[in-house]
Each structure stands twice: as C-alpha cells, then as structure tokens.
C-alpha cells in the first residue's frame, strides 16, 4: 500500500506537487494519470524518498520508505529505464542491486528469465534499445519480490509488442496481490491497463476513482445535426424541450437518438444534411478535465482552447 498525505513539493516558486492525498491499494493496477509536467514523476520520487517533500509525507506499507530494512522487498520501482550506468553489463547491474539488499545471487538469473533477457545478460547496457533497457529496469524492480511495483510511463517509446508485454505483466502482478502503481499521460493506455485511477493536473488531485466510474462520469455523447435551416431546427428542439449547444456548424443535443432527431426534423419540414451520434472519447474526457491544468499548451492545444469545437468535432 502507498499512501500520500498532503504531499507538497516546491521547486523555487513552482509548486510541482500540491497537497496531494491518496491511497494506492494492493491487488489492482492503479493508474496515475496526468498531462506532461503534472507532477507524476515528482510524486513518485517523493514516495521513494529521492526528493524531500516541502510538506506532507508519503508512506509505503505504513512507514516512510527511507526507514525500510530491506527496501527492495517493499518497492520495486522503474522511473527512467535509461537511468543506469551504461558501462556495466546487465548482469553486473542486477548483481550489485541484489547484493545491496542481501538477496541471493540466483535471483539475478530468475529475473533475467522473467523478462526474457538471459541471452544479453553479459552485454553492456549502453548498447540496449529502450525496450531492452525497460525490461532490465523491470527485472531490477522484481529482484526483491516486492509487494509494491511502481512504474513511471513504462510504455513510453516501446513498440506494440513491448506495450502488450508490460500491460500483461502489470495486470498479472496485480492479480498476484501486488500493489501496482503506474503513471501515464495517455487515458487510452490507462483504460486498458488500470482498474483504478488517480488523476492529477498541475500537482493537484483531480480525480481518485475507478476506471469504470471515470468513464461513466466523463464520456458524454450526443447527437449532432447539420442543416441549412439552423434556426428552425433550434426552435424545434426548443419545443421538444431538449438542450441544444452550438458546436461548430452543428447543433448538438443530448438525450435524443438519431431516429428521434430525424423524425423531429421531418415533422417540421426541415432539411438535414448530416446527422450522427457523437461519442466523446475517454481521451477527450481526460483532456477536458485537465485542460485548465495543462502545463504547456502546444499550438494545437491553444487552438482547441480558443475553439473547443475545432478539436472535439474535428477529430472524430
């Protein structure tokens, strides 16, 4: 179990993590979701004691991580796969880590087998691809057979096969009763991997909920209609008592099917040029939630912020 209590980290004037409180439970994959720069990595560093919190505290199995007697039995973490001395062989790297906690030497071969890296164990890490480094990082995390696994953006830069492997791995380990805490900036990834979600933006907690609940609450759909007689259509909707919003050159209504909208238009002798059901994806729901808290808007994001329809209507 991981617990954050009012966790706060400032870097100068900038608040990277802002009064964050949450609990990560064992037995499920908990997704840690937020746009880039939201403070996910910093939060993980605070949990591991790599950074010192400005206020608040993080507990691992009920105590600060730094007080663990055999730290590698408690947490296996992979923050950045490239954070390793490239001059060492994979085996030497894993051996040194195993020794530091007094773990048996055969454990090195076990975890190498686990990630399918036995053959390249005696090669220097600097020649490894990102996917291979990622697997070595996971092997290192598994050395102490830890209760908690913590991965920071593990699918970043991986090929589809690697992504599938990591997803399966995390779900398998969670099913074995481990606490699995994994960060991502992609909602779609979390929808596939996680069961519970902790969403942050600009260091603040935005949501702490199950994935199912998050989807139910945030994926709004509606019917969109395009017509040359836009005012007549709007009046017809008004008489029918449904809420209408203007989205680009469409009218969007909620609580009506396309059949009902078609019938309503026919009854009012309105010509329809386009009629369809619009589902906002999870990714859009997540973007909607974090829009105000995105640290660095790209240009596309800026256009969307000025004109939400350009993005919501345009991408689907």
């Amino acid at each position: 179990m991981i617990e954050a209590r009012g966790l706060t980290k400032r870097f100068g004037d900038k608040v990277a993590v802002d009064d964050l409180s949450f609990v990560v439970e064992p037995g499920i994959v908990t997704g840690f979701l937020g746009p880039n720069g939201a403070g996910k990595s910093t939060t993980m560093r605070l949990i591991l004691g790599l950074d010192h919190p400005t206020r608040g505290q993080a507990l691992v199995n009920g105590h600060p991580y730094a007080t663990a007697k055999a730290p590698m039995r408690e947490v296996g973490a992979l923050l950045d796969a490239k954070d390793v001395h490239g001059g060492r062989t994979a085996r030497a790297h894993l051996k040194s880590l195993a020794q530091s906690n007094g773990l048996p030497g055969r454990r090195v071969d076990e975890v190498l087998d686990l990630v399918g890296m036995r053959e390249v164990a005696d090669k220097r890490i600097k020649g490894f691809s990102l996917g291979m480094s990622q697997r070595i990082g996971i092997a290192a995390a598994m050395l102490g057979d830890p209760q908690i696994l913590m991965f920071d953006e593990p699918v970043n830069g991986l090929d589809p096969e690697g992504i599938l492997w990591i997803r399966g791995f995390m779900q398998h380990e969670a099913a074995n009763g481990r606490t699995v805490f994994v960060s991502s900036h992609l909602m779609s990834e979390m929808a596939l991997t996680a069961e519970h979600l902790i969403v942050i933006g600009r260091g603040k907690l935005l949501a702490d909920t199950s994935v199912t609940e998050f989807i139910a609450q945030n994926s709004v759909g509606g019917v969109r209609v395009r017509t040359p007689q836009i005012e007549a259509m709007r009046d017809a909707f008004g008489r029918a008592g449904v809420k209408v919003t203007d989205v680009d050159k469409f009218l969007q209504v909620e609580g009506m099917t396309t059949d009902e909208v078609g019938d309503l238009a026919a009854a009012n002798h309105i010509t329809i040029h386009e009629l369809f059901t619009q589902h906002s994806s999870l990714e859009e729901a997540f973007m909607e939630m974090t829009r105000d808290s995105v640290e660095y808007h790209a240009q596309v994001g800026d256009v969307a912020a000025l004109d939400p329809a350009a993005m919501v209507g345009g991408t689907k």
Binding site: P26, R45, V75, A77, A92
Partner: protein, 273 residues
C-alpha cells in the same frame, strides 16, 4: 484483473540493506566499469614511469647541482616523484565513483535500493579507500625499486632500511589514499564530473606551487599546508627547513579531504537525488 487483494507470500526474510551488503554491492559496482582498471593502470604506469625518468635525469646530471643541493639531495623523494601525476589518476577515479552515479542517473536505482544515503556513501568510501591504499602501496614500492638502479650508478641508491625510507614509501602509498579521497570528497560535494575533476587538478597540481608567491609569513604558512605541498612531505627523508614534518604534512593533507567529505555527507542527505 479482479483478484483477491491479498499480499503475496513474502520471500527473502533475511534480506537487509546492511552496511556489509552495501559494501559488497559497491565492490561489484566499482569493478564492473572500465574506468576503474584504466585509471588504476594509469596510476601505476605514470607514477613508476615518471619516478624512473626523474631518477634517471637527476642522477645523470648530478654534476650540474650545487654543492648545497647535492648535500640535501633526497634520493627516496626523487624515486617517488611520479606521484605528482599519479595522484591525479586516483583523484579522478575518486571523483568518478561518485559523479557517474549522478551523470548516468544510476543514483536513483542506488538510493531506491538503499535509501540510507550515508550508508551508501560510507560503503563507497570504504571500498574505494581499500582499493586506493592497496594499489597505492604496490605503486610506491614498484616506483622506489624501479628507480634505485639509476641511483646505484652514482653509488647513491637508497635502501629500505635507511632512516625514513620505509616510512616514505608506505606514507606515499597512504598519500595515494589521501589524494583519492580528496577527489571522492570533491565528487560528493560538486556532483558534476567535469567540475569536480577540474577542482581536483587545480587544488592538487596547479594551485600548490602558486601559493609560493604569497608574501610574508602567513603566505608561507598557507604554502606549506596546501594540499600536495603538505602531503608530499611524507615522501621526504631529508627534513626541509621551514616545511612541515612528514606526518604533520600527512595530517594536513588528511584534513583537506575529511572536511569536504563531511560537507558532502551533510549535503547527500539534504539534497534531492
């Protein structure tokens, strides 16, 4: 995906991040990178090579020395002259042991495995001190014996039983430890490879002779206690006037690495990794 939320059976009950285990880990780490054998090889080759060259040169130009210089000629000291360069090799290794953790990002794995940072620093320091001392001793004995044939021509060869000679050789081995620890301490404080190496080279090699230019009695006091000026006294067998005695010098050199190491130990706990 929905599994009973029950912790897995815990294995490795005897696992501990104890000092002994962290020392074993650091031993593996130091020998699994190429820079270690390379810098140690440079230490040995540079020290022995330059000591031999210096002995050869000085012994064949004895007639150019003044009578006074000849009277105070320190054969043992000249036979260990290569340490001027050798000290830099071991200081660089001391720097690298700490700074590569930061430059590679490996420090995150290190501190995640062992969050007790002082224990990591202590284990690293012990492992490095043992290696620096052992290789330092081998180097100084090799240099001394390799240089003696050149002095023997002039019937000036020093012998291990002569007053101060054994102390000078062993003391010089310990000087290798001290200069290595100086680099190690600078690495812990500065954390950047280039910065720490620059500081080590400046403070061990460039600045010490310059302190001679300082005026007055206080200027001379600074000169004689300054890093290698003080530390090299351990290699002398002829007491130089107005200099520190061999062990006073060694003590001063020790202060030069202990103080920054204490600062480094303080900072390693306070700073974010």
């Amino acid at each position: 995906m929905t599994a009973p939320a029950q912790a897995p059976a815990r294995r490795y009950d005897h696992a501990r991040a104890s000092l002994g285990n962290v020392i074993r880990s650091e031993w593996t780490k130091i020998w699994s990178v190429r820079s270690t054998p390379w810098t140690l090889l440079i230490l040995v080759v540079a020290t022995v090579g330059i000591s031999v060259l210096a002995s050869w040169g000085t012994s064949t130009h004895l007639n150019t020395l003044s009578a006074e210089d000849r009277a105070t000629l320190d054969v043992t000291y000249n036979s260990l002259a290569g340490l001027t360069l050798g000290q830099l090799a071991i200081a660089v290794l001391g720097v690298l042991i700490v700074t590569t953790e930061y430059s590679t990002g490996g420090v995150k794995a290190t501190f995640t495995a062992v969050p007790n940072r002082l224990r990591v620093l202590l284990a690293k320091g012990i492992v490095f001190a043992v290696i620096a001392t052992a290789v330092g001793m081998i180097t100084t004995f090799l240099a001394f014996y390799a240089a003696q044939p050149f002095w023997a021509h002039q019937h000036l060869a020093a012998h291990i039983g002569d007053p101060g000679v054994l102390r000078a050789i062993i003391g010089s081995g310990l000087y290798v430890l001290a200069s290595g620890m100086f680099g190690f301490a600078l690495g812990a404080v500065i954390r950047h490879t280039a910065g720490a190496i620059t500081a080590a080279v400046a403070l061990l090699l460039v600045v010490p002779p310059l302190t001679q230019l300082l005026p007055g009695e206080w200027g001379h006091d600074i000169f004689k206690v300054f890093t290698s000026n003080a530390g090299s006294m351990i290699a002398t067998t002829v007491q130089q006037s107005r200099s520190l005695t061999p062990w006073e010098g060694y003590l001063a050199m020790t202060v030069w690495w202990v103080v920054p190491l204490i600062l480094g130990a303080y900072l390693i706990r306070r700073r974010d990794a």
